[in-house]
Structure formats: C-alpha cells, structure tokens
Symmetry: C2
Subunit: 138 residues, 2 copies
C-alpha cells in the first residue's frame, strides 16, 4: 500500500518534470493531493501552562514521534493568533497532527516503542488530551 | 510568498527526478515538508446525523471551499474507525482541515465570498462547530 502510493507520487512528479513547464508541475503537486488519508490530531493541555520549559519539552517529545515509519506527515503547533470567535477553541497549549496512509498505519503507531516511550516520559506534563481521527472522504 | 514556495517545491522535484532513483525522489518529497504552516481544523456535528443526505450536502459544501485561493491543502473527513479510547472524540460527523501559508491566508478565507456562501447555505445543517487553529512551531 505504502509502496504503491509512493510509486504513484514519484511517477507523477517525473511525468510533470518531463512534460510540463514549472508552473504546470507546481499545479500537479498541489498540497491537496499530498494530504494523507488518515489524520490523527491531538490537542494537549499542559498542567503548568506558564512553564516554558514544560512546553518546550512536550514540543520536543512530539517532534521525536516523526521517526515512526508509518507517519507520512507531521505538524506540531501552538494556538494561532487568528481572530477570536466563540467556535474557536484556543485553550489548548500544544497540538500534534499526524498523517497516515490508513487506519492500520495509525494502529502501528499506537503500539510503536517510540510512541510508548513518548507517553511514558511526557504524560506527567499534560492535564488533558483530546484526539480526533479523521478518514478522508472521496 | 506563495510563488516562492511553489518554485522551491518544483525545483526540488525536478532535481530529484534528474539526480536520483525513484525511491530517493519519494524520500525527498515527504509529506513532512508539504504540511502548511497554519492549520484550520473544523469539526461539525449535524443536527440530523441519521440523514445521509444532510451529511452528503455538508461534505459537498466543505469541498467547494477548495476553490478559495489562499487554501494550500484540504482534507474532508469523517470519524475513522480507530480503536476506541477515552481521549478520542469520535462524536463529530464531518471534519474539514484547511492548510494556509500564514494567519493572513486564513483571515482572507474567513471573509471570502465562497466561504460566506458556504456558511449561509449550510449552517442550518449543523448543531455545533468546534475550530482549532494551529501555527507550526519550528
């Protein structure tokens, strides 16, 4: 599955390079196509949000997850300074978006030693975690 | 900004095609690099979750947002059948992840006529919306 997907992307990029001008190639590689099928979005609330050290430790820990082989993309974030609206929840402190090819990829991640190590070493830092798993609809 | 980013991606893809085997090119185009800086993740709860028609209408409406020019990536999803855990909120019905280059891109989207049209034509379908905006930390 993974191999097939990579080969497809690779073939597309090479075909684009061979046949089209740079502008057309850029259009053929829109991020729309690059977005993984399964998104795993985790929001963390720190026990001590005023501690810059705790926040930095959690961010570094989350980034270490990128080494897990089924992860296709990662975005580690903090609340953005977008306009304040009732529907926007900006009370969390650190967010982690992981992309996988499929549900199996996320399952592998959950039981991966690096993920277990991350939880063991960092769970004392957070007071609350909320997770959303979303599967792309075609 | 957009142009610069696209040129960078394009150059990278072409260099990869010229210099490396397909496997190496795939590695050079990891989704890690493709993830936009600002994520805008919206979760919708339908008023009538048992209505397949309402769900389909909302999904089609969310997909129509992709035409807004500041959107760099889009993922329209439904709860994934990952393992059930206390921290996982799978009570929502439709999700929309939009990626932008920066906060300004998201601000432009908020006031864009296509976004306003989407809200006007679809807000009767949902009972609750939760939004998270996350800015990538380097």
């Amino acid at each position: 599955m993974t191999t097939t997907r990579r080969e497809f992307l690779t073939t597309g990029a090479i075909a684009g390079a061979a046949l089209a001008a740079p502008g057309a190639l850029a259009a053929s590689t829109t991020a729309n196509n690059a977005m993984p099928k399964l998104l795993h979005h985790v929001f963390f609330w720190l026990k001590n949000p005023e501690s810059a050290a705790d926040r930095a430790k959690l961010i570094a820990g989350v980034k270490s997850l990128a080494a897990i082989e089924t992860i296709r993309s990662i975005h580690v974030g903090v609340p953005a300074s977008t306009e304040k609206r009732d529907v926007v929840d900006n009370s969390y402190h650190v967010s982690e978006l992981l992309g996988f090819d499929d549900v199996e990829g996320q399952d592998t991640y959950q039981v991966h030693p690096l993920h277990k190590k991350f939880v063991d070493e960092h769970q004392h830092l957070w007071s609350k975690v909320v997770v959303y798993d979303a599967l792309k609809v075609d």
